[in-house]
Structure formats: structure tokens, C-alpha cells
């Protein structure tokens, strides 16, 4: 059954731009600690432009990766998938997921699209790139450390960040394949405080 659902999602995801439903409520000013204060325009795997404030309104898991990453990034993505999978047992919608590339020079929207396809990422995943300044600033607010170590490789922190609907960091999971229950708790808490009123049926 889940396979079927997944297949459906994938099918949809391959052919349509991911939905970007704006928050249905009238949001106040962003909280002081929201990372969505960061300026700049980003581009996703479908070549669509977006700014961070557009991500407001949904609880999100976010991680920084790059497409030519041989080991760590696939594991980060796997960890995000397993958090999502666990969540969907209780919250069928799961969460929205964002991947930001460290390597905007290499990672064109096409490369991001390719990664999404390889990884069978459904439309809830947005893979985005900005310029190197934006990447640096986003890494700075998230506390992600990274360094280019060769023409193709980066050393980087392995961090999965839980953002509440306003883009405030509510939890960070560090390491690969680590215990994920605290991330899940954080997402559920964020879902409870954001989505139950306005997103309900």
C-alpha cells in the first residue's frame, strides 16, 4: 500500500513542479530568530525561483549537501527519509524537506533534478541552490561548518535541522544514522503548534 502511494507520489513528483502553497493564515512578522530573514533568491530542481520567506507555513527538515558527495550526503538523505517515514505513521502528510547545496557552481538545477530522481524524492522535497554568499550565510545561521577540500569535494557537518513553520530552528540532529526520536518529537511539536488549526480538513 505504501509502495503504491509512494509510486503515485513519485509519478506526480516527476511531472509537476512541487506545490508551493502559501500559508493560508495571515502571518505576522517573521520571528526574530527565523532563518527566513536571510535575503536572496534561490533556484530549485525545476528551475523555479524562490526566496526563503516563501518557505514559511510548513514544518521542514533541512540539510545541506552536494550532489557529487560520495558518502555522507546520501546518508543524510537516508536519515531524512527515515525520519519522514516514521512521522508518516502518525502524520500521513509527513513534512516538507529541503536540501541546499554547498556547491552551487557544480549543482545546477539539472544536477539537483537528477539527484532527486536518483533518490526517488517526492515533490515534498525541494533541492535548492543559491550563490556562494547565500550558501555561506545559510550555513552560518544553521551552524553548518563546511570547507572545500578539493575541486569536487567538501568537508562538512552532518546536520539535519528541524525548522518550525516560521523558519525558526527548533532542533538539530548531528551525525549520521543517529537516534532520530528527538528529531521526530521536535517535528511533531512543531506540527502541533503550527498546522492543526489552519491546515485541518
Amino acid at each position: 500500500m505504501r509502495a503504491l502511494l509512494l509510486a503515485a507520489l513519485l509519478f506526480v513528483g516527476c511531472s509537476t513542479p512541487p506545490p508551493q502553497a502559501p500559508a493560508s493564515r495571515s502571518p505576522g512578522p517573521l520571528p526574530e530568530l527565523s532563518i527566513y530573514h536571510l535575503p536572496g533568491a534561490w533556484t530549485d530542481q525545476d528551475g523555479k525561483e524562490l526566496t526563503l520567506p516563501e518557505l514559511r507555513g510548513k514544518v521542514r527538515l533541512l540539510a545541506m549537501v552536494y550532489t557529487s558527495c560520495p558518502q555522507a550526503c546520501p546518508r543524510i538523505i537516508a536519515d531524512m527519509k527515515s525520519i519522514d517515514e516514521d512521522l508518516r505513521k502518525r502524520h500521513p502528510a509527513g513534512v516538507e524537506l529541503v536540501l541546499v547545496t554547498f556547491d552551487p557552481e557544480t549543482d545546477t538545477p539539472e544536477r539537483l533534478r537528477q539527484l532527486a530522481d536518483e533518490q526517488k524524492l517526492d515533490p515534498r522535497w525541494r533541492l535548492i541552490r543559491g550563490d556562494s554568499q547565500q550558501v555561506q550565510e545559510l550555513a552560518a545561521v544553521l551552524g553548518v561548518k563546511y570547507r572545500k577540500v578539493s575541486a569536487t569535494d567538501f568537508a562538512h557537518s552532518n546536520l539535519i535541522t528541524v525548522l518550525d513553520a516560521d523558519g525558526v530552528v527548533v532542533h538539530q540532529q548531528e551525525g549520521l544514522g543517529v537516534e532520530r526520536s528527538r528529531s521526530i518529537d521536535a517535528v511533531e511539536k512543531a506540527l502541533t503548534s503550527c498546522c492543526s488549526e489552519e491546515e485541518g480538513p
Partner: protein, 473 residues
């Protein structure tokens, strides 16, 4: 069409958002523990023993600060501290406690710091989790799984320098059921300092990395400075009290040969663990390690804490003082009682004119004499005649069941006048010297009474008057 499917799917997915929260937010069993804030003390004070019979969630708040203060008279140093002083605050918790640790780095600190508690089971002892920039606070939690006395220290790179500047202290994890009760407890921590200037060179002394690498300190001290446990910091205890020292060694390099001049440790919890050793003179305390030592103070005077790697004590500062106040107890310790010419085997005993037998408090009856006599015996007689009065075959005659002691007078004479030449005891011939022990009448009467009433001997009571009569004037 596809768009519609998406929308449909989405709406169903979104509906999931509104499902009621799961009860995962309810408190875990751990959350049910009673909460308390740990009492922290500066050396030489130790927080009071833990009396509760259950685990608790203990909040520990430790502030890191960088302060300039005295290392030795006229010499100052910029110490990096846990709690404003060296050594860091003493933390006392109980086995099974869940500790919420707050490491606060003062805004006026120049350095980031962290803490590695040897009592923590987990990566880095909390070091990575507690890495804290100036003006920030880190919080992490751990469960105290193992009882014992543990060192904590800063583990920020360069680790050696952070420790060399004073960043260490002790955390005691009391075992369930607690440690045996004692009258007094003190916190003593040894460490060494490496300064640009030589020992004693006045003024603010910077850290010398060369000397630290060579492990050649200018100062080896207790409690962070010369006379840190002594001088005006000297602690006073009373005769008869039981004393426990929580001894740590911050290093950074040296292993301590910890010793208290004038005491024997009745009990040493080796390396701060659970294994007890009895009757110990000196105990090794590794850098980054500890020991718990218990002893009962029996006689007044000043006990001197030293690192018995002795040049450290007398030349670099590793001296501490514990004053013991109370009435003299000559049975335990007499002061000098005799200074006799040492004669080789077979020669006669001589007394140096002018030396006097000390006077003890009079005993009132046989029981008191037996009790007092036992102490006198242990101090004066055990070496030759043995704990059980069995002597040493062919060298020192037995006192237990001895047929030589035909009357109390024989024993008294031997004690107060000495004895030399050939004697026969229980069929065995002995030819040795029994020195005149220079005991007071009281002590002599007591020890003879004790011997007559021990090990199956036939009893009796010798009064001090008898002694005076028998003593060769």
C-alpha cells in the same frame, strides 16, 4: 489532471497535519525524579554528605572565569578557573543521579572553554557538548553510572594549556548507601604550574610552554597556590576526630606520591574507586586521578601533607598543613622519651643522665591499666614480642604462656630495668638484650598488667607503686 491528483493527494496529506499530537511529550520516567540544585564548594570545603535514599535530577551550574590572583607570595598568575578559584568547585552527587550540567563562560573571558568530567560515560566526558564561547552557556545531561571520586577538567585545545592554567576540580559520585560517616571532610587537589620566571620570581608570571613540555614545573602546590592548604588556610581538627581527604591531582603532568607526615591512612579508596586498602603510608595519585583517604587523628600537633616526591614538597610548594588540637596523648605519641646510647648485641643498657621518664595520667584500676597497657604494648613491645605475644623463636622470647614470668616482679623488672644475658623460657634458651624502656611508672604498670592478663597468662594487677619499688634507682 495530474494537477488535480496532486491537489487531492496534498489535501489528504495535509489532513495528517491536524491529527492529534501523540503523547510523546509526556514526561519520561526520568522526568519523574525530584529535582535539586547541587551545592558547590571551594577548596578545602566539601559539600555536605548526601542523605537522600533515592536518585534525583541534579542541576549543576559551573561558571568559567579567567582571573589573575596569587600563586605564591609576591607572584601572580592568570588562572583559568571553574568557579573563580583553583581547584574548581567541588561537585557532590549520588550514584544514579541524572545531572543537568550548565557550563557558563563569563562574557569577559577571552577563551572558549568546555568540561570533560571523568564521571561521565559518553564521548569526551561532555567536552564536545559543553564547548562554550565567551558569554555563552552550554547545557548537557548525563547519568552518574559509576560511584567514585572523579577529576574534571577543561578539554579545549590546546588542552595542556587549559589544564596548566588551573582548569580542573573534583566531582564525587557517592555510592548508593553513602560512604562511611566521618567527622571532617576536606578537598585537596594537587597540581603544578609552569612559569616564565623561576620559582619565587615576583610579579605576574606567564605560562611557560617550554617548561610544561619538559615537565619541569616551578610550582607544585595543593589547592592552587603555595600554602593553598596551609598557612592561613590551615585547617584545624580535634584529637579523636575521623578525617577524610578527597585528594585529586590536576596535573597536568606529575603523578603525586601523596603522603601525610605523621599519619597513617587507616583506609585508602585506591584511585578514588571502591577498592579499599588499609594502613597506607603514601598513595599514588595519578594526573587526572584521585584518592580518598581516611584517618583518625590521635595526637595533637601539625600533620603535614606532602607530595613525597620530596623535592616538590620542600622546594616547589607541595606542602599542606592540618592542625590537630586537643590534649596530649603520650600513649599514642609521646614525644621523645629516650635517647640512649645504642649498644651492640650483648652490651649493657645505659641511660643518658638527665633523661626522664614522662608522666602519664594516673590509672585508677586494673581495667584502665589493661586498656592503657595494650596501647603501650603496641607501641613498645610488639616489634619484638609480637601482636600475640609469641615472640620470635630463638631471638625474642614469648610472653604468651611464658614460664619465665613466675611473678609480676620479674616482668616489672625486665620492663623498667632492662634485661640482658642468657635466660630460659619454655625450655628454649635466649641470649639477647631487653632495653630499659624508660616508661613511666603508670605505663610500666599498665603494660605489665596487660601482659599478665593476655594470651592465656594467669592474670594479676601491678600498681605504679610496685613499679617504683622495683625500679633501679
Amino acid at each position: 489532471m495530474k494537477r488535480t491528483i496532486t491537489a487531492l493527494l496534498l489535501s489528504s496529506l495535509l489532513a495528517g497535519c491536524s491529527s492529534p499530537p501523540t503523547p510523546s511529550a509526556s514526561p519520561s520516567p526520568a522526568g519523574a525524579l525530584p529535582e535539586e540544585v547541587a551545592v558547590l564548594t571551594s577548596a578545602p570545603e566539601v559539600p555536605p554528605p548526601i542523605t537522600r535514599k533515592h536518585s534525583a535530577k541534579v542541576s549543576v551550574k559551573l561558571e568559567v572565569s579567567e582571573v589573575e590572583s596569587e600563586l605564591a607570595p609576591g607572584v601572580t598568575y592568570t588562572f583559568w578557573t571553574f568557579g573563580g578559584e583553583v581547584p574548581g568547585k567541588f561537585i557532590r552527587i549520588r550514584e544514579g543521579d541524572e545531572v543537568e550540567f550548565h557550563l557558563q563562560n563569563r562574557p569577559d573571558s577571552k577563551m572558549p572553554h568546555n568540561i570533560d568530567l571523568h564521571a561521565v560515560t559518553g564521548p569526551g566526558g561532555g567536552a564536545a557538548a559543553s564547548f562554550t564561547a565567551p558569554g555563552h552557556e552550554s547545557v548537557f545531561s548525563f547519568k552518574a553510572l559509576n560511584p567514585g571520586l572523579y577529576v574534571y577538567h577543561c578539554a579545549t585545545a590546546p588542552v595542556g594549556m587549559h589544564i596548566a592554567n588551573g582548569m580542573y576540580g573534583l566531582i564525587l559520585v557517592e555510592p548508593v548507601g553513602g560512604l562511611p560517616k566521618v567527622d571532617r571532610e576536606f578537598y585537596v587537589m594537587q597540581s603544578e604550574f609552569y612559569t616564565e620566571g623561576a620559582h619565587g620570581e615576583p610579579g605576574l608570571q606567564p605560562f611557560s610552554m617550554e617548561k610544561a613540555l619538559d615537565e619541569n614545573p616551578d610550582y607544585v602546590v595543593f589547592n592552587g597556590k603555595v600554602d593553598g592548604f596551609g598557612g592561613d588556610q590551615a585547617q584545624v581538627v580535634k584529637v579523636g576526630e575521623t578525617v577524610r581527604l578527597y585528594v585529586g591531582n590536576g596535573g597536568p603532568n606529575l603523578v603525586s606520591s601523596f603522603h601525610v607526615i605523621g599519619e597513617i591512612f587507616d583506609t585508602v579508596y585506591i584511585e578514588g574507586g571502591t577498592t579499599k586498602n588499609k594502613h597506607v603510608q603514601s598513595t599514588l595519585v595519578p594526573a587526572g586521578g584521585s584518592a580518598i583517604v581516611d584517618f583518625k587523628v590521635e595526637a595533637p600537633g601539625t600533620l603535614v601533607l606532602v607530595d613525597h616526591s620530596i623535592f616538590r614538597a620542600f622546594n616547589k610548594g607541595a606542602l599542606g598543613k592540618l592542625k590537630v588540637e586537643g590534649p596530649e596523648n603520650p600513649l599514642v605519641y609521646s614525644g621523645k622519651q629516650a635517647d640512649v646510647v645504642y649498644m651492640a648485641e650483648g652490651s649493657t643498657i645505659q641511660r643518658i643522665p638527665g633523661s626522664r621518664a614522662p608522666v602519664g595520667k594516673p590509672t585508677a584500676n586494673k581495667e584502665e591499666r589493661i586498656a592503657r597497657g595494650e596501647i603501650v604494648y603496641k607501641r613498645n613491645c610488639v616489634a619484638c614480642h609480637g601482636q600475640e605475644g609469641k615472640g620470635v623463636p630463638k631471638v625474642f622470647p614469648p610472653l604468651a604462656g611464658s614460664d619465665f614470668l613466675t611473678s609480676p616482679e620479674v616482668a616489672v623488672s625486665a620492663v623498667v630495668n632492662g634485661l640482658s644475658g642468657e635466660i630460659k623460657v619454655n625450655g628454649e634458651t635466649y641470649n639477647n638484650v631487653m632495653p630499659n624502656l624508660q616508661l613511666s611508672d603508670e605505663d610500666a604498670a599498665s603494660v605489665v598488667t596487660f601482659v599478665l592478663n593476655s594470651w592465656g597468662n594467669k592474670g594479676g594487677d601491678v600498681s605504679p607503686k610496685t613499679i617504683a619499688r622495683v625500679r633501679v634507682k
